[in-house]
Symmetry: D3
Amino acid sequence: MYFYKEDLINLIVPDKPDPAAAKVIQEVLGGRFGEMRTMMQFFFQSNNFRGNAVQYRDLIRGVFLEELSHVELVQHTINQLLTGSGEDQAGDAGVDHAPLDEAIKHANPHHFIMGAQSSLPVDASGNPWLGSYVYSHGNLISDLLDNLVLESTGVLQKSRIYEMSSNKTFRETLAFLIVRDNAHQNAFAKALETLGVDWGKLFPVPNYDINKYPECRKYVEMGFHNAQFNFRLDSTRIGEIFNGQTPSRNGGDLSVIDPPEGFPLPYMPELPNEHSPGLQDLNS
Amino acid sequence: MYFYKEDLINLIVPDKPDPAAAKVIQEVLGGRFGEMRTMMQFFFQSNNFRGNAVQYRDLIRGVFLEELSHVELVQHTINQLLTGSGEDQAGDAGVDHAPLDEAIKHANPHHFIMGAQSSLPVDASGNPWLGSYVYSHGNLISDLLDNLVLESTGVLQKSRIYEMSSNKTFRETLAFLIVRDNAHQNAFAKALETLGVDWGKLFPVPNYDINKYPECRKYVEMGFHNAQFNFRLDSTRIGEIFNGQTPSRNGGDLSVIDPPEGFPLPYMPELPNEHSPGLQDLNS
Amino acid sequence: MYFYKEDLINLIVPDKPDPAAAKVIQEVLGGRFGEMRTMMQFFFQSNNFRGNAVQYRDLIRGVFLEELSHVELVQHTINQLLTGSGEDQAGDAGVDHAPLDEAIKHANPHHFIMGAQSSLPVDASGNPWLGSYVYSHGNLISDLLDNLVLESTGVLQKSRIYEMSSNKTFRETLAFLIVRDNAHQNAFAKALETLGVDWGKLFPVPNYDINKYPECRKYVEMGFHNAQFNFRLDSTRIGEIFNGQTPSRNGGDLSVIDPPEGFPLPYMPELPNEHSPGLQDLNS
Amino acid sequence: MYFYKEDLINLIVPDKPDPAAAKVIQEVLGGRFGEMRTMMQFFFQSNNFRGNAVQYRDLIRGVFLEELSHVELVQHTINQLLTGSGEDQAGDAGVDHAPLDEAIKHANPHHFIMGAQSSLPVDASGNPWLGSYVYSHGNLISDLLDNLVLESTGVLQKSRIYEMSSNKTFRETLAFLIVRDNAHQNAFAKALETLGVDWGKLFPVPNYDINKYPECRKYVEMGFHNAQFNFRLDSTRIGEIFNGQTPSRNGGDLSVIDPPEGFPLPYMPELPNEHSPGLQDLNS
Amino acid sequence: MYFYKEDLINLIVPDKPDPAAAKVIQEVLGGRFGEMRTMMQFFFQSNNFRGNAVQYRDLIRGVFLEELSHVELVQHTINQLLTGSGEDQAGDAGVDHAPLDEAIKHANPHHFIMGAQSSLPVDASGNPWLGSYVYSHGNLISDLLDNLVLESTGVLQKSRIYEMSSNKTFRETLAFLIVRDNAHQNAFAKALETLGVDWGKLFPVPNYDINKYPECRKYVEMGFHNAQFNFRLDSTRIGEIFNGQTPSRNGGDLSVIDPPEGFPLPYMPELPNEHSPGLQDLNS
Amino acid sequence: MYFYKEDLINLIVPDKPDPAAAKVIQEVLGGRFGEMRTMMQFFFQSNNFRGNAVQYRDLIRGVFLEELSHVELVQHTINQLLTGSGEDQAGDAGVDHAPLDEAIKHANPHHFIMGAQSSLPVDASGNPWLGSYVYSHGNLISDLLDNLVLESTGVLQKSRIYEMSSNKTFRETLAFLIVRDNAHQNAFAKALETLGVDWGKLFPVPNYDINKYPECRKYVEMGFHNAQFNFRLDSTRIGEIFNGQTPSRNGGDLSVIDPPEGFPLPYMPELPNEHSPGLQDLNS
């Protein structure tokens, strides 16, 4: 069973609305290699696990638990990037235009039609999330290899999306997730090491230069690339796998630690134009 | 952030394998009105919530938290129904047939190809789960109305699926979920009552006769149709809405209670034929 | 604007329930070459029509109007094939089985889960109907050629589906539609003749032997393969194209005639097990 | 059977081409809550109807009949918004650009590739219409509740899309449909009232301020929000449900009336660049 | 079995990057009527062929073999249009923007997220290629008719896409493919002539004016519209069908000829920002 | 450019029709990890390749070329399994049943509706192949890792499908492909070895016991698990990577060899009931 404390796993840094950035970061939420995929894939793998080697199930489930917080973090990031879109033009008195005609130009129009300037379960191209993304074949090696590809591709995509806007809300969330995906790459690569692989200097994929992503630095300095957060209220055997030297070329030792202290959920203001939440309408 | 204790929210009752039952109960997991939909819909609605009326967000999030456990419960139910399929024929000595040729006849073949006799994110017809199922429009009334349709349809479908097998594993899980969907109907109907609706004798939908589903009785007697479990580690305002008389014709008072004590996850044996988990292969 | 008289375009011949037949005839309703496709394709083509040659628009729209009745006819055919499924076993006293466990074996389980033993917008394999099936490119020749392929494939598929059950409800509807698709093939082939093509002995596709489909004979004898029904309340220019010698090898002259007199919609009894319509529940 | 008179249910107001507006209003045609969905959903529900309470079937079918005209209206609206796109640049002599390079910048490119500047069965994000949108579960209460959500969401989405362009063709069609969706909300809410619900002041959803949508006013003054058009050539029992006081807070009495007189279909000129219809090519 | 010589079937003409052009020409690669469709459709039709009339199988397979080269040609065209996008802004010193924020404005963002500025199996609207596009019904006439529609629609779409950019890389590939689709139209139309049709002056569809597409002229002068390339290492019977007078109004005689001599694959430079191929990372 | 010699890469062993086997082996053709996926993935990766390390492109392209033959082999295998289905019942004189009513019971009905008893681009559950299966991210390591997962999963799935029928046509093709997938695993694992990985005893995945799949033995004895076929008509640098000791625990040295000599395509008889090819109809 699942328990909740209303805290975000990382800070939402405020900046101006940026619907074009919201559109592309949807890939990180609802894309084929986004957080909904990692969440659902590890959910299925951990409950479909067979046999006694439950330290591997605990590892996979542990990452799943964090992915729940990642989905939540990206939802709030998108909401922050969208909220307030279109307000700037309101001041263009005398111009015969509509409040959203500029906002939607490089946006996903569903952000303003199906959502009230808020997140959706779709990718950067507007395709809905698909159950067939999930890989849970029940063979531990193939499942771990696919998880490794998934986390590596997650970093790769985020490093590319990072180039698409200089918005601070956008980049901070991406940077945090790049470092955490790196940690999860380490988790699955380490699990495969226990089965005999020596990775040489292959990981992390891609071999990103931390100086290109300055927001990443503080998370690396906090050791977040070599840590696994423990969200279990009972005991876990993650530490039997996630320990000792990192399988990545950047070095350091792996350790299971407590989750971050938590950050407040940003307040999302009412949007009367979007009839959201619409309660004021009832009272009027 | 999300925390976990390795307990199921209800018991998995053992019975014989039944791949045809596993196929149809996939609707409850990955169907358009299944538990993955309720989970993701309430996840998006609670994080996309706007304004100060957070008692409604707490209610929606509260149901979301339980849906995580429901997804987990159905995954284990399907695994129980599948595990061991095909073993019976093994004894048919001298017959020129394949171990799974009977098992797949009325099964979803993906249960044996993509899964190692385990659950998948698809519906009863094998269609993958779709992000476009999620309804999160940000207008509180329309969101609540859709949630009501979703929970009502959940009960309706489960009462129909119940007729498709007499397998005990299958029926016990369905019965538990019918009663819990009923409670969630009450939650959303009650929330709409706070906005002015008087439901008359409309709910629950459908008006099922509890004697037709004997496994439901004990859950009703425990009051599970009028209770909302509280999975929050911090405080919640669910009780401001979920209290007083039920909106359903079957009567009683609503109350927020502690979750069930929890039941152990069933052990899933290794399946060498499916190469799952395949670790024994490495050691041989 | 569209007007309606509650009549079916052809008779629903009663026979026993046959869920396996219902499953495969879904192709004729919701398949890539089914009646929903023809209906929507001709709907888009007629309203997207450009230029003054409105006799072609009238022809396409005329076929569209009939397709509305075809969709309705197939919906009722499927409902007839499904209604009552599972009742036979109810008499098997003392047997520990569920009312629908046999019925769903070769059925589309969604017929009993999402529908109350009734029709769905899916194909014979359970895939939902897709907007991308529609061809409306706005070039008259390419649109007419695609319509020809669509109607030819309709006949071809129906002649194959015909071999899948000897149920009379099933075969009568297929036979009627085979002959009507043949007429629509003639309509589009004739339109292309006005643009210069001489079809030789190519049509109809396929070259079916009417003796193989005895139910077809009466419709051919009534001239339904060479007639176009007129559902317009105002005037139409269909007759400028649909006249003279048929483009098909089976000979005869084309003519625009009044629609059939109409047949009553079959009564669909209540199904308490499916909670359909469920009104009796409210009064109990 | 279905009959047709070549009239639009409302006027297409001419204005300049606006491909960006055409892109977003596709949601109203082919979106999850658009007119193709309402049309097909009520088509399936009315033909899948069980039992004797045919006044409900007549109500659902009555709305279906109007939806056919709505699909047609939106198709023509989109065509009007697209026709002539790209012509403006043609005058930019000496500039090395292509006739459509500007037009497609904020357009759905399929409007110019698959359509000849004309409507498509897709949503605002370019996703094709899906059969799985249709809800027809056969339980009258759940079907009516879903219809209510569908019509409410229709108004909600249209009020948001309205903000995306000030084009008159675009806004007039949206305004007409907002008022008609409101009437259909009333129809389904009233039907649920006959089953015992008292809606308080919940409807319409959302609680829109008519002054924000000035084009709506005339339709409200004509009473179109409280009327149901009768498209039956035989008798109908809609009036047994659709009568008396509106269930909506805006007051008034419901009545079944004759359809509007009808408006001419706009002429769609030939587009030689798009080879549409392409007949002039044959004669050259 | 298939053999390969590393040559492109036509030249890639260099020009500036143009991500908007890359987005729309994806239709030609992964659209419903694009080269992936033609390739897969003819692949299935030729291997699913029944009976002794293998000259038709040889014809279909012959076109399939060329389509392999077409897919390859369009992939390289897209890569050329994308490579280097975003570099221009790099010089805008002091401006607080991201390297790709302009490039993605009218682009498919997946070109920069899932691809490293390279081609994808999707259409111009970002929808993934679908197996259900393939038509292979096994009746020779219906298969040939559908092939004719497919090739005609290919030319029609390409003539429309041509108007969307004046980029030379883009237009040269389109022009080559327009002429080759024309030849394939001739192939399938001629095959239907052997079965009795006289096409009059119907083909090619659409009746394009070669002066509008100047890049086409040289290919027509080389006779590429009336030629079929022979990619067989063993003998083929294509020539039994593809000979004599063209079925198209533009005249000339059909002939089977050797493939073009072949053009070098363009060099695709490394893109460190996209971590592609990422080998330099390993060595650093 | 691509050249063809009409030979299959392996023998089609004749056996009785088995539509249930044809249904499940569709996974190997059109499934998420089937031969269409491997073919298209390596096609995109090789043409999207960046940089000078073309020995890797040659390796990937080399596997692509073989996958073309694999798709062809599975198409013919499915056709062999389907051809003749339903003929047995024809002899059941006096029984009132339809020729295909038994055949479709455990079949994919589309095999008899959309195909003329022939192969389709779908998976074992009837879902159409999807472009979004393709992984071509342009980072060599992530592409190679995904290829490894793809080939490993291919073997895993085939070893499971093998248990679903004892039909010889079915098992021989599966066995050949299991061994070839094993070779391709070696190819991609070896390529990663050149980048620094030491696999220990991880590969092949899964660790199958060759005695369980007796049809595999002869291919292993021929060294097919350690060989890469060369289908290039010009030179290739595959051998720079594919040489030396295998990365798999089963030992041996890798070598690039000539393709098999080739096997004749099976003759597919006409099926008049399916109107395939339907030419005899024209002459009658």
